[in-house]
């Protein structure tokens, strides 16, 4: 987080998917950095392009339907243009990834042990026995009871929470310098979630792992993130330090998201506030501000016709600029 070059530098990332209804601009010029040991939380509704933007980094989108442009430099090396064999080497030790759905992310016909061991052995000369030892150690680390026996079990013999811990163990198995967690704890109950968050925090302080944490859960964001990136319609609509974004949200959408948090102390009769409407279809994005059709403010004539740039708003804390892409940030406070 010092003056060193960032661990990951994403510049103008764009993903266009071919769909039966025409090209879909799923990610539109996303730029951000992740420093060593830093946690960046990416928040936004379903369909805002969060998952696609990180899958694109690792080349995990099917090439037939996805066109990815821009740059994503990990330690100075562009992930998007590197040869396939180099990308294979980076997957695992460079970037570990935890996927969303624990019920389907593991191969149902192979044992847990095998799925861990093959990942370990794909990156370096490790004997089977040694890899098994490491695998058992990892399972213990993610809090799986009786890790030795778990190695010989199949995914269907484990609960969803346990499976998700296995997926996390796989992602951690090569001590990645960057960990990407896509809704990694959404399927877990809060106590397990807390365990996993602790585990990742420990890893970060130990190895300086950078983390991209994709989530809906603003509670988790407040707990672990150094920086927040709010995505909407495939764009970053606001980013900044966690305090800036959560305390002084500048974009109407961010304010809407924060307003939608249930508040136990509030006096209104338990009616949940929502952001009315649905996100725009990526095949048919509005010409101006992507949030314009749902925006409760719309105070500027440019909203409908001109795309607002990501510009610095207000004072920044901790050396991180607080930016938002809106024409309507002036005088914003909650």
């Amino acid at each position: 987080m010092s003056e060193l070059a960032p661990l990951l530098e994403v510049a103008d990332l764009r993903v266009r998917l071919r769909t039966p209804r025409g090209p879909a601009e799923v990610v539109n010029g996303l730029s951000y950095t992740v420093g060593r040991g830093e946690t960046v939380a990416v928040v936004g509704e379903s369909g805002s392009g969060k998952s696609v933007s990180v899958l694109a980094l690792l080349g995990l989108l099917p090439a037939r339907v996805a066109a990815v442009t821009g740059a994503a430099r990990l330690d100075g090396e562009d992930l998007l243009t590197m040869p396939p064999e180099r990308l294979r080497e980076v997957r695992g030790p460079g970037v570990g990834m935890v996927f969303q759905d624990p019920m389907t992310s593991l191969n149902p016909v192979l044992t847990i042990g095998r799925q861990l061991v093959e990942g370990i052995r794909a990156h370096g000369e490790v004997s089977k026995a040694e890899a098994r030892d490491r695998a058992a150690g990892l399972l213990a680390e993610v809090g799986l009871p009786d890790p030795r026996r778990a190695l010989d079990r199949y995914p269907h013999e484990l609960s969803g929470g346990m499976r998700q811990r296995v997926v996390i163990a796989i992602a951690l198995s090569n001590n990645p310098s960057l960990l990407i967690a896509d809704e990694a704890t959404t399927a877990l109950d809060v106590t397990v979630q807390a365990q996993i968050l602790d585990l990742v925090a420990g890893l970060q302080s130990e190895h300086g792992t950078g983390v991209i944490w994709i989530t809906h859960d603003l509670g988790v964001v407040a707990g672990i993130a150094d920086r927040v990136l709010v995505m909407y319609g495939g764009r970053c609509v606001e980013d900044g330090s966690v305090d800036d974004v959560l305390e002084r949200p500048a974009h109407p959408y961010t304010r809407g998201l924060l307003g939608a948090l249930p508040d136990l102390a509030s006096s209104d009769d338990g009616e949940l506030a929502t952001v009315p409407g649905t996100p725009p279809a990526p095949t048919d994005l509005p010409a101006g501000c992507v949030f314009w059709p749902r925006c409760p403010v719309r105070s500027d004539p440019r909203c409908e016709t001109e795309q607002p740039p990501l510009a610095v708003v207000g004072a920044s804390t901790g050396g991180l600029p607080h930016r938002a892409a809106t024409w309507c940030s002036e005088g914003s406070s909650r």
Partner: protein, 291 residues
């Protein structure tokens, strides 16, 4: 099944005796074959003997049905196994290639080929092959069968064409299944996990795609094998292949009830056995089915 066999019009004794016979001989032969008894009694008599391994005696040749069947069994087994190998050799690579590049040229060509393979009549394909390879080119004998133990080269030469004909047909069916099951396996989330681990592409494909596409493949292969083992009549006749299909056909033509019943019983048993083996393979392949 027993009833069905006896419902076929025609009298086996009359067929055996020809056009000129006297009533006494006819009655005597009928009695010896047990055909003068009520059908129900005939059935239980037959079933009881069949349980003890006695399938009766052929009306036509006087040989025991078991010896007739066991004479034909090696030829049928040989052809069935060879055909299924040909089928898998065609289907697995072709289906996999199609699935890896859906809607590509390879996929379209494979689709058309397998469609042709399914729809072209076997006898036509057989005759074309005979005309080309036995006739024009003279590379292969046009038919017949010699046991492997007597003449390995001749055995292989004679096996090749019938195995290719039946193999192409089965292979065309299996190709479609391989394509769809590989396609489904490719789209599974766990394949992405495997890629994200940094596994080499071949390892991802073998262990996370093909391995998972195996279950439907085993099922359809079992069905095809059962079909091949119950005799491929047309191909056997065109290539004068002395298999069970021919035997069954002759039995139908001469109303040789014991042989026909024996053959049908064998087909039923084969079908059950193959289904059993397929089920056992399931448990080996998919841990979710194990208890």
């Amino acid at each position: 099944m027993f009833g069905l066999v006896h419902l076929v019009p025609g009298d086996p004794i009359r067929l055996a005796l020809g056009t000129r016979f006297d009533q006494e001989t006819y009655d005597a032969l009928r009695a010896r074959a047990g055909l003068d008894q009520p059908l129900v009694e005939q059935f239980f008599g037959w079933a009881g003997r069949a349980l003890r391994g006695d399938l009766g005696v052929s009306f036509r040749t006087g040989e025991t049905v078991t010896s007739l069947i066991s004479e034909r069994l090696p030829a049928t087994l040989t052809l069935a196994v060879a055909s299924i190998l040909v089928a898998l050799l065609i289907a697995v690579p072709l289906g996999t290639l199609s699935a890896l590049r859906p809607r590509s040229v390879v996929d379209r060509v494979a689709t058309v080929l397998s469609q042709i393979g399914i729809s072209v009549p076997e006898f036509w394909m057989a005759i074309v092959l005979i005309l080309v390879f036995a006739g024009t080119l003279g590379w292969l004998p046009s038919g017949g069968y010699v046991p492997l133990t007597e003449d390995p080269a001749g055995w292989a030469q004679r096996l090749l064409m019938p195995a290719v004909v039946t193999g192409v047909v089965s292979g065309s069916v299996i190709t479609r299944f391989v394509r769809s099951s590989v396609l489904e396996a490719l789209g599974a989330d766990h394949v992405r996990t495997a890629q994200a681990k940094g596994l080499p592409a071949r390892q991802v494909f073998t262990w996370h795609v093909l391995r998972n596409a195996l279950l439907p493949l085993v099922t359809v292969t079992g069905v095809q094998l059962a079909y091949l083992l119950s005799g491929v009549v047309v191909v056997e006749i065109v290539f004068s292949w002395p298999g069970l299909g021919q035997l069954a056909l002759q039995a139908v033509q001469s109303r040789d009830y014991p042989v026909l019943q024996g053959a049908i019983l064998l087909f039923a048993v084969v079908f059950l056995l193959i289904n059993l083996v397929v089920d056992l393979l399931y448990t080996a392949i998919d841990p979710r089915i194990r208890r």
